[in-house]
Amino acid sequence: MEFEAVIGLEVHAQLSTGSKIFCACSAAFGAPPNENTCPVCTGMPGVLPVLNRRVVEFAVRTALATSCAVRKKSVFARKNYFYPDLPKAYQISQYELPLALAGHIDIELEGGAKRIGITRIHLEEDAGKLVHEGEFAGAQASLADLNRCSVPLMEIVSEPDMRTPEEAGEYLRRLRDILVYLEVCDGNMEEGSFRCDANVSVRPMGQKEFGTKAELKNMNSFRNVEKALEHEIRRQIERIEDGDKVVQETRLWDAAAGVTVPMRGKEEAHDYRYFPDPDLLPLIVEEAWVEELRQTIPELPGEKITRLTRTYGLSRYDAGLLSSSRALADFFEESLAVFGDNPKVTANECVHWKEAIAAGKISPETIAHAVEDREKGTISATASKKLVELAIETGRPIREIRDEKGLTQVSDTGALEETVSKVLAANPKEVESYRGGKAGLLSFFVGQVMKETRGKANPRIVQEVLKKTLG
C-alpha cells in the first residue's frame, strides 16, 4: 500500500520590536536573569497590559505579505494554565478571533510551484524560561528566568497542505525569508526567535480522510524539521503496516538519537478555559492603517526571484542566492546600475563576496568596476580578484588601486601584435612546429607573450592575435 503524508506547521516568530508586547521592558535576547522585568510582565497583583503598536504593525505587514485577510476586529483571549514560567498563570493570546486569516505562501520545488495555505496569524506573549538546577534528573528544583515573559510572538499556522518533508522545509525557509525581508523577525531557529512545531499524519494514497496526527516539537533547525518529519512519517507508516494504530500524542525530536519520542508527563490534556481578556479591549485595525502598511511591504523573495530571472536572465538558483538577503539583492541591482552589461557575472561576483557585502565593506561601484574592467579586458581575472580584496582592505576605489599598482592588462590588439611578432621572431623553430601541426605550442607562445608583457597582456586577446598571425 502506498501512503502519503499530511503535514501542517505551526511557527512562532519572536517579533523584533524594542519593547515587549504589553509592557515597556526591553525585548532583547541575552540579558542577565530577570533583568528585563517589571511588575506587568512578572504578573504582580493589580498590574495591567497595554498593547505595543509596533507589534500590531509587524503582524499586519506579515499578514499582507502572505496574502491574508486582516480582520478589522480581533480579540485577545486568556489561555489559562499553571507553570512557573507563566507569571500570570495565563498567556494572553488570541483564540476565536485572530488578527489574520486565509493566506498563502508559494514555494518552489523540483517539480514546479506549490501553494501552501496559511490558516491564521495571531499575536500572543512569550513565556519565560525554566532552567533545571543541576544537570541530572535528581535535581530538586527549577529556576525561573522571566526575561522572556511577554516578548511578542506571532503565531502562523499553515493549512495541512504539505506532503513531504522537503515541502515543509521549503515552506519554512520561504516564510523565514519573508519575515526577515519585512524586518519583523530575525528568523533564527537556533536562537529561538523562529520556532516550529509540526503536525503530521499519514493516509493511504487516495484516501480523503486524514489519519491520526502526531504533534512534533523540539526541532531547532530547518534540517532537523525535515529529518524529524522523515523519521516520523516512516514510523507511522511502519506502525500501520504492523497492524497498530497511530496514537494522537505529542512527540519530541531527539536529534542525537534521530528519533521522535513521546512527551511524558506534562501533557495531561489541558483545559485552557479560553475567554476574552477583560483587561484589553478589542484590537481594531482600521483599513486606512492597513493600506498605509501595505505601502511599506517591500518586494518579497518570491517576486524578486522571478523578476531577477526574467529581467537579467539569471537562473532561479542564482536569483535565489542573491535574494537570500534583501540587502544583497539590492546591492546587486545597484551594481548593475553602474555597469549592467553582464548581469550573470555581476551576480556571481556578488554571491562570491557576499560576506564582505553584508559587512558593508564593499560598495556596488567596486563590484561594477571590477566586472566592467574584466569584461572589457582591462584587467585579468586574477587581477580582478586581487583588486577587490584590496578594495575591501583599504576601502579605496578599485580603479585607483588598479592604476597605482599598474594592474591594467594590455588588450589593445595593435600593441599586442607588436609583441606577438617579436615573440614569434624569437622562436622560429616553435613556429614551424606549430605550423606543422603541434597545436599545443599555442600555450607556449601565450606564455612567452605574457612573459614579455610581464603578465599584463590579456591572454584571450593574445591567443586571438597569435592564431591570426600564425595562421
Partner: protein, 487 residues
C-alpha cells in the same frame, strides 16, 4: 475634630487653623483607641503618617501646598498597592507582600497632599458583603459592634463612620462601596466603569471592578472623585474623558430631574419595610425640590445576580491564578513537587469564600460549560445593559434602596453563601451595566441602624448623582459619625 468633613479639614489645614500633625495625631490616637474593636485597619502607618504630616506642615510654612487634600489624613482599602507598604488584599496569601509600585489611585491620593494613615480591612480579594472573610478578622459596624459593616470595603466604611479617617477609597465590583456605605451611614460612590484607573488595584473581576470614594458627605465624595478620576495610560480600560467639576454639581438644583423607580426593586419579600419607607421618604424629598418621579421597569433584574455570580467568579478564577507561591506571597512548605506546592499554597493561602468562587469560576469556564455559563451570562449582561439604556431614555437617575436590610449580625449569613450573595441584589446590576451608582444615608432603622438610598446614573454622569445625593443630604441630615462611646 474627627467629625469634620474632608473639605472642612482640608480648609482648616490650608488656612493654618490646625496643623496636619495635630490632625493626624488626633486621628492616630482614635485609631489606637478604637481600632482594636472595630478592626477597620489592617496596617496602621503611625510613624510614616506623622512624618508625612510634618512634611506637609513644613511645606505650608513655605507657602506651598501639594494639592486639594494637603495635610489631611485618609485611608485606603488594602486592595490598592502602596509602594514599600504591605498590601494584603485581606488575604493570607499576600500577608507579606510589599509592592514595589503604587496603584494609580494611590499616586493620585498622595499627589493631592493627603496623609496616608494606613490600609483598611476588607473581605478577602473583595469577595464578600460583610468583611467577614478577611484573613485579619471581621471589621465591625461602628453603629453596632455586633453587626457587619458591609463588604467588601467594610473596613473603609467603618473607618469613615467611626471618625478614624477623613475619607477613604474603596472598590466596588457588585456593591462593595455602596453597600458598606449604606449600612455604616456614610456616602459611597461607584464611578462609571473606566472612570478611575484600575492599575495597581488588585483585580477581582476585571470587567466590573472600580475604585471610588467613601466619605462622610456628598461634597467630600465629589472631591475624592475629582482627585482619583482620569485617564491612565497604564490601564487599557480607562476612558479618556475630561473630569468635570464634580463639586459644582453638588450645588445644583434637582428641579426638573427625572427620577425613575424600577418596580422590580420594590417587589419581593426581601426588602425590609423600614428600608422601603426610608427610600419612599427620599423620593418625596426629591420631588418636593422639583424632581419628577416616574415608574420604570428593568425587566431583567432578577437574572442579574446569576449572571454576576458566573462572570465575576470566572474572571476572578483567572485573576487569582497568579497566586501560586512562585514569585511573591505565601508559599506552602511541603515535600512534594511543583503541583503539590502550588495546590497547598493556594489551599493554605485562600479562605473558604475565595475557594468557592475560584471553583465556580473555573467550572463556568471549563470545557463543555463555557457556552452554557459564561457565554450565556455575557448575553444576560447585554440584556441588563439594554434595560438601563431603555430606562435612561426616559429618566436621568434611578432611585432604589442600596441594601435590602440594614446591617445584619456578624455570623448571621455565613452559613449559606447564597443568603450572603442576596445582600447585593440591588447593587449588582449597576456593575454589570458599567453605570455609576451612589449610596447616600437616608434614614435610620428602628434599631438605630443606618439606611442608605441608592441612585444610579447614566454612563459618565456622576454629576447627576452628586446633584441628587447632595439634595437628599441637605434635606435629610443624619449623623455621619457613630457615637463610639469614648473608651
Amino acid at each position: 475634630m474627627h467629625e469634620w468633613t474632608l473639605l472642612s479639614a482640608a480648609r482648616k489645614v490650608r488656612e493654618k487653623e490646625i496643623s496636619s500633625r495635630e490632625l493626624t495625631r488626633a486621628i492616630l490616637d482614635r485609631i489606637e483607641r478604637h481600632n482594636p474593636r472595630i478592626n477597620a485597619y489592617v496596617t496602621v502607618l503611625t510613624e510614616k503618617a506623622m512624618k508625612d504630616a510634618l512634611a506637609c506642615d513644613e511645606a505650608l510654612q513655605k507657602g506651598r501646598t501639594l494639592g486639594p487634600l494637603h495635610g489631611v489624613p485618609v485611608g485606603l482599602k488594602d486592595i490598592f498597592c502602596t509602594r514599600g507598604i504591605r498590601t494584603t488584599c485581606g488575604s493570607r496569601i499576600l500577608h507579606n507582600f510589599i509592592p514595589p509600585y503604587d496603584a494609580t489611585v494611590t499616586g493620585k491620593v498622595l499627589s493631592s497632599g493627603a496623609v496616608l494613615l494606613g490600609k483598611q480591612n476588607m473581605d478577602e480579594f473583595a469577595m464578600g458583603s460583610s468583611t467577614e472573610t478577611s484573613h485579619f478578622g471581621p471589621a465591625r459596624n461602628p453603629w453596632a459592634l455586633d453587626r457587619i459593616p458591609g463588604g467588601s470595603s467594610g473596613g473603609t466604611a467603618a473607618a469613615v463612620a467611626a471618625g478614624l479617617c477623613f475619607a477613604g477609597v474603596g472598590t466596588d465590583t457588585g456593591g462593595s462601596i455602596r453597600q458598606p456605605a449604606s449600612v455604616c451611614g456614610v456616602v459611597g460612590l461607584k464611578p462609571t466603569y473606566g472612570r478611575v484607573s484600575r492599575y495597581g488595584m488588585i483585580a477581582f473581576a476585571s470587567s466590573l471592578d472600580q475604585g471610588g470614594p467613601i466619605t462622610r458627605s456628598v461634597p467630600d465624595a465629589a472631591m475624592i472623585l475629582s482627585v482619583i478620576a482620569g485617564h491612565d495610560r497604564r490601564d487599557s480600560t480607562s476612558v479618556d474623558l475630561p473630569v468635570p467639576d464634580y463639586l459644582a454639581a453638588t450645588r445644583e438644583s434637582v428641579k426638573g430631574l427625572k427620577v425613575g423607580l424600577p418596580r422590580e426593586y420594590f417587589e419581593g419579600e426581601g426588602l425590609d419595610p423600614g428600608v422601603r419607607a426610608a427610600v419612599e421618604k427620599t423620593l418625596a424629598v426629591l420631588t418636593s425640590q422639583g424632581a419628577q418621579a416616574l415608574e420604570i421597569s428593568l425587566p431583567h433584574t432578577r437574572y442579574a445576580l446569576s449572571a454576576y455570580y458566573i462572570i465575576a467568579p470566572a474572571e476572578a478564577s483567572s485573576n487569582l491564578a497568579r497566586y501560586d507561591g512562585v514569585r511573591y506571597g505565601h508559599r506552602a512548605r511541603c515535600e512534594g513537587g511543583l503541583i503539590e506546592m502550588m495546590s497547598r499554597t493556594r489551599a493554605e493561602g485562600f479562605g473558604a469564600e475565595v475557594k468557592r468562587r475560584v471553583m465556580i469560576g473555573t467550572y463556568a469556564l471549563s470545557a463543555g460549560y463555557y457556552e452554557a455559563y459564561y457565554g450565556k451570562a455575557q448575553k444576560v449582561r447585554t440584556l441588563i445593559r439594554r434595560d438601563f439604556e431603555e430606562a435612561f431614555s426616559k429618566v436621568d437617575v434611578i432611585l432604589t434602596p442600596t441594601s435590602p436590610t440594614p446591617a445584619f449580625r456578624i455570623g448571621e449569613r455565613t452559613g449559606d453563601p447564597l443568603t450572603m450573595y442576596l445582600s447585593d441584589i440591588f447593587t449588582i446590576p449597576c456593575n454589570l451595566a458599567g453605570i455609576p451608582g451612589i449610596s447616600v444615608p437616608c434614614g435610620m432603622s428602628r434599631e438605630g441602624l443606618p439606611i442608605g438610598a441608592q441612585l444610579l446614573g447614566k454612563h459618565f454622569r456622576e454629576e447627576d448623582l452628586f446633584m441628587a445625593a447632595a439634595a437628599i443630604e441637605r434635606e435629610i441630615p443624619l449623623p455621619r459619625v457613630a457615637p463610639m462611646g469614648e473608651a
